[in-house]
């Protein structure tokens, strides 16, 4: 149906013309952003049935698949793209009620970060993946600075780490290219077996570090708390909802297709668990609510990486479901937290006391999302937690299951602290008026409860996605089918 490259091309076009829209009328950029993300969602859903049948190869520039850049959109990529554009759509609704200083540049960058993330998810070419990672990172560097104050410092730190990461990535790409001779993922995967094991190991580690920064793994993710705290709410929302999902996808794509050796999955497992535990423990300490959410999303990423690197089909499915839930819940959390902060005028949790009565929608949104994450039955978190535990027990990893549960317990602890402060403490501060976020909160709550009560909705795409990512030979066949 509609060609999927439009998902990247159209936002690009809109971004380039944003300054002109700004000149026409100052309110226009907001609506352009909303319309583009909505259009992307429509394009994605129109291709849904087709991709469910068989993955779609889109050759860019009309060249035969493996020899030039091609987009490979399988069920997994589709799910991830839905996630990214979905959260971008919700956040752009939220943005309608926000106004930024350079709003044309903001929406330009906002569109580009979504297009970059969708590009990361859909590309079938290694260097193209690098370019899209760079697009997302640079968009993120500049977007964080919109909040002024110490956000410059956070963005500078992220820039340094991003720079080091891109060097690693470039080295990795150079090595793979000179060893295999092509940049297409399928071709590399086809001849990955022949690469000398030592070289394979070094290249895999280069990629691990390069993409690990994007997928927020343990030693590489110290930029996450600074960026999510200092950036404006919409940016932290899109970062935690969409960009981290794209990072996880890229990591999974690289390690499941190119370097499927068990040794790397053990590394990922260990790193994932450390990220999980570290994230939860530090999140408990935080007084700043956004920093707490940052560490919590960091920990959730660790959880997803741990579960996916278990390698069984059930585990990958559980990980993906958790990824989807996490994005939905985090976007809602960030939006409500944003409103609560602007209402209380400070990011400290203790100043948010008693806001439940004054800001019902935001407080309600925060509570629903918190309960979703904590796995209350009839909400989406419960089912993904259930699947995670059963899949990790299935792979008889008792210690890992125990750690996951312990981490979930700590998580309950600090989310509850905030929920209690919101509802069951009396209000001391006078409440500033803030943006009205009823639409995004309602949309997301419906999604959460819908997925919780009837998860069959996305069972089929998840199944196909898990199957597709796991056996890379099918990936190679589809891309190199011709030759």
């Amino acid at each position: 149906m509609v060609n999927l490259t439009l998902i990247i091309a159209l936002p690009l076009l809109m971004a380039f013309t944003m300054p002109i829209f700004k000149m026409l009328n100052s309110k226009l950029p907001k609506f352009i952003a909303l319309l583009t993300t909505a259009f992307n969602l429509i394009v994605l859903s129109s291709n849904f049935t087709e991709i469910m049948a068989a993955p779609l190869i889109l050759e860019l520039g009309g060249w035969q698949a493996p020899f030039a850049i091609n987009l490979y959109v399988g069920p997994l990529a589709l799910v991830a793209a839905f996630l990214i554009n979905g959260s971008a759509f919700i956040l752009s609704i939220y943005n309608l009620s926000q106004d930024y200083q350079f709003d044309d540049k903001f929406y330009l960058l906002f569109l580009m970060i979504t297009a970059g993330a969708s590009g990361m998810v859909m590309t079938g070419d290694l260097f193209n993946l690098f370019v899209f990672i760079e697009i997302t990172s640079i968009a993120a560097y500049s977007l964080t600075t919109f909040a002024g104050g110490s956000s410059y410092e956070a963005s500078f730190k992220y820039l340094i780490i991003g720079g080091v990461g891109s060097v690693f990535l470039l080295l990795g790409i150079g090595f793979t290219y000179s060893a295999v001779g092509s940049l297409n993922l399928a071709e590399i995967a086809a001849s990955a077996g022949l690469i000398n094991p030592l070289l394979l190991q070094i290249t895999a580690l280069l990629f691990l570090i390069g993409i690990g920064i994007e997928a927020e793994l343990f030693p590489l993710n110290f930029w996450v708390p600074d960026i999510y705290t200092e950036a404006p709410t919409a940016v932290s929302g899109i970062m935690s909802g969409a960009v981290s999902a794209a990072g996880i996808y890229a990591l999974a794509r690289i390690f499941f297709t190119l370097f499927p050796a068990q040794q790397f999955f053990n590394y990922l497992l260990v790193i994932g668990v450390i990220t999980l535990i570290m994230g939860e423990l530090i999140a408990y300490q935080q007084e700043n609510i956004k920093r707490m959410l940052a560490y919590s999303s960091l920990a959730q990423m660790g959880l997803i990486v741990t579960v996916i690197s278990l390698g069984t089909e059930a585990a990958v499915k559980a990980g993906l479901f958790q990824l989807i839930n996490h994005s939905i819940l985090k976007v809602l959390l960030f939006i409500s937290a944003g409103v609560l902060i602007s209402a209380a005028g400070s990011k400290k949790i203790k100043d948010l006391a008693g806001l439940g009565t004054k800001k019902p929608t935001a407080a309600f949104g925060f509570t629903i999302a918190a309960m979703g994450i904590l796995g209350v039955p009839f909400l989406n978190g419960f089912i993904s937690k259930f699947m995670i535990i059963s899949s990790s027990l299935n792979a008889d990893q008792f210690l890992i299951t125990f750690l996951i549960l312990a981490a979930a317990l700590i998580e309950i602890a600090y989310y509850l602290k905030v929920v209690q402060k919101l509802y069951f403490e009396d209000l001391e501060i006078e409440v500033k008026n803030t943006a009205v976020i009823t639409v995004p909160v309602i949309l997301l709550t419906l999604l959460i409860i819908g997925l919780g009560v009837y998860p069959q909705l996305i069972a089929e795409p998840l199944e196909k996605a898990a199957a597709e990512i796991l056996n890379n030979s099918r990936y190679i066949m589809t891309v190199l089918g011709g030759i």
Partner: protein, 621 residues
């Protein structure tokens, strides 16, 4: 149709929430109506044990089926829940007049009832878990809607503890699901039976953990005091009456239906009782002792009664753990009786709090003159709690003693005796400080509680005396249950129970007691009429007494006794849990200080370091 027991309260809950916004009384009336409806329909389906229902759902590739069935045990608990919620709802129609969160209260209260029904009728672990979580969450919101900061902290600790236990339950249950392919109890029981003993014991312990927490047994009883002390005054009776009991429902299911006792049959035994269940009984004994000692020290009446609930729970767990027919029926009797008299006490105290607004005992006094009915309710309830003959409390304690002596468990009996005698002390303390003694000036114009609050108290007094004289009523349903669970029944008649060393004829004793009372009355009547004198006109051995305030002995009632246990009470268990979590989380803090110290060069250094380490690891392997 068992699901109606879950969906009717749930639907009514939202209706109650909306209606209550308009007028304060609507919510409570709806709760009352719903529980009355539940009670009625339960009564109708008594006996039809084959009633069951199941619907399955293929979810994300897992074939799950949700089974619901009615068993005598679950029928009894369901009746108790709906009865006690009916009484509380009637009571809270008026008592919620000044309660800010009353609409949230009614919403959650109905949801709790619905989820308890769900837990009781569940025949498979998944439904049990779902409704168990729902129960925990809704009761969390209920508790935290009590007194401001304190309720929040109490509810918080309650939820963390039950969440940790629920996760261990989930882990064990999913492990069984992997082995047997289904969540239902029967296949799980049979799998556990022919599985290796230590592993299935471990699994069953993990499954029973949430039930231990909810039942408030010794190591896990920390949440009970604060939860009761700070919960809204209408919810405490339900919390200590019913919520603690649901934990026992779970334990009975684990011990009998999941054949826990059959599994540990062959393990080493102490005096004919497998060591593990003796350990549980010992835990019960320790619960009794700690509960009583801490109860005596309390100054807040609700906390005192909360600790008394903990110690009474000890009796029930002893009864269940020694697994003799006498023991089991004794604990079931005590479970029902405790529900009745504990909710009467809490309702009476709620009435007092409703009128005086304070829960501290030394701030009130002499209320008998103003609130005689509440005093009567409280008196009958504490007579039952202390286990004094004509009331039902004595019967259940007597049966448990028979069970203990029959098997010769000395230490358990010692704890049980200590518990019951010491209960005189902590039961008498609120009686004397709150109701008797000097009436405070500011409480002069207190009136008795409105009619709607009197009715539940009257009904409960009637029930205490009724079961006191005719325990047979309770025994038929208990024998039905023990038959269903495969324990021989104790023979009984309408008014007497056959213990190990002799029958207990409650009607006979009631008559004798009445006779003795009549003779005493005669002696009293014959003597000269006495002149009524005010309270202040007492022999004060020379001191000049002016205000009632200083003349009322209420503060630290048992100071001498408490001095014996001061050091023990100081290092309370909650302290232990607090320090445990505190330094666990401090490790998080030091973790952050080492790594995330805000220096970007360190961050970049760590990424290169990770590369080098992983390369080295790869190179070594």
């Amino acid at each position: 149709m068992l699901t109606k027991y879950i969906f009717v309260p749930a639907a009514a809950a939202f209706a109650a929430y909306i209606l209550n916004k308009k007028n304060k009384k609507a919510g409570a009336t709806i709760t009352a109506l719903v529980s009355a409806y539940l009670l009625l329909s339960l009564a109708l389906i008594y006996g039809s044990w084959e009633l069951n229902q199941s619907f399955n759902l293929s979810l994300m590739g897992y074939q799950l089926e949700f089974l619901m069935a009615l068993t005598p045990l679950s029928w009894l608990f369901a009746v108790l829940t709906s009865a006690i919620s009916l009484l509380i709802a009637v009571f809270s129609i008026d008592s919620q007049a000044d309660f800010k969160f009353s609409s949230v209260f009614n919403l959650n209260f109905l949801l709790v009832i619905g989820s308890i029904m769900g837990v009781l009728f569940a025949r498979d672990f998944l439904t049990l878990f779902i409704f168990w979580e729902l129960m925990t969450w809704t009761s969390f919101y209920l508790i935290s809607s009590g007194k401001k900061k304190m309720a929040g902290r109490a509810a918080y600790r309650y939820l963390i503890l039950s969440a940790a236990a629920a996760y261990s339950f989930l882990m064990a249950v999913i492990f069984i699901f992997q082995q047997t392919g289904s969540f239902a109890f029967e296949p799980a029981a049979e799998f556990l039976l022919n599985n290796s003993a230590p592993q299935s014991i471990l699994l069953l312990l993990a499954i029973s953990l949430p039930f231990w927490v909810k039942a408030g047994i010794f190591p896990l009883h920390v949440w009970v005091k604060d939860a009761h002390g700070n919960a809204p005054k209408e919810f405490s009776p339900f919390l200590s009456g019913m919520l603690l009991k649901v934990g026992f429902y779970g334990l009975i299911v684990v011990f009998h239906q999941l054949s826990f006792f059959k599994i540990i049959e062959n393990t080493i035994a102490y005096r004919g009782l497998p060591l593990l269940s003796y350990l549980f009984a010992l835990l019960g004994a320790v619960t009794i002792i700690t509960g009583t000692i801490l109860a005596i020290r309390q100054e807040d009446m609700k906390k005192l009664i909360a600790y008394s609930s903990i110690s009474q729970m000890g009796y029930i767990i002893i009864g269940i753990a020694i697994a003799t027919p006498l023991g089991f029926s004794g604990s079931m009797l005590h479970l029902m009786n405790h529900l009745i008299f504990k909710s009467t006490i809490f309702l009476a105290l709620a009435a007092v709090i409703y009128r005086t607004g304070t829960t501290k005992m030394y701030e009130v006094g002499g209320l008998i003159f103003r609130m005689p009915l509440t005093f009567a309710a409280y008196l009958t309830a504490i007579i039952a709690l202390a286990g004094i003959p004509p009331t039902n409390g004595f019967i259940s304690k007597w049966v448990i003693y028979q069970a203990l002596i029959e098997k010769g468990y000395l230490f358990l009996a010692l704890a049980a005796f200590f518990g019951s005698i010491a209960s005189f002390m902590y039961v008498f303390k609120p009686l004397s400080t709150v109701f008797l003694g000097q009436l405070k000036p500011q409480h002069q114009e207190i009136k008795e509680v409105p009619l709607l609050m009197k009715i539940p108290m009257l009904i409960l007094i009637g029930v205490i005396v009724l079961f006191g004289v005719f325990p047979g009523i309770q025994m038929n349903i208990i024998s039905q249950i023990s038959g269903d669970l495969g324990i021989e029944t104790v023979n009984y008649s309408l008014y007497s129970i056959q213990g190990a060393f002799g029958a207990w004829n409650s009607l006979y004793i009631f008559n004798v007691f009445a006779a003795g009372f009549v003779i005493a009355l005669l002696v009293f009547g014959l003597a000269k009429k006495s002149k009524l004198v005010g309270l202040l006109d007492t022999y004060s051995s020379g001191e000049y007494v002016t205000d009632a305030e200083s003349y009322h002995y209420a503060y630290q009632y048992y100071r001498p006794f408490d001095r014996l246990f001061d050091n023990l009470a100081a290092k309370s268990l909650t302290g232990f849990y607090e320090t445990l979590t505190a330094n666990l989380l401090k490790s998080g803090e030091s973790f952050r200080r080492i790594f995330a110290a805000g220096r970007v060069q360190n961050y970049a250094l760590y990424s290169v370091l990770l590369f080098v380490i992983l390369a080295a690891v790869g190179w070594i392997i």
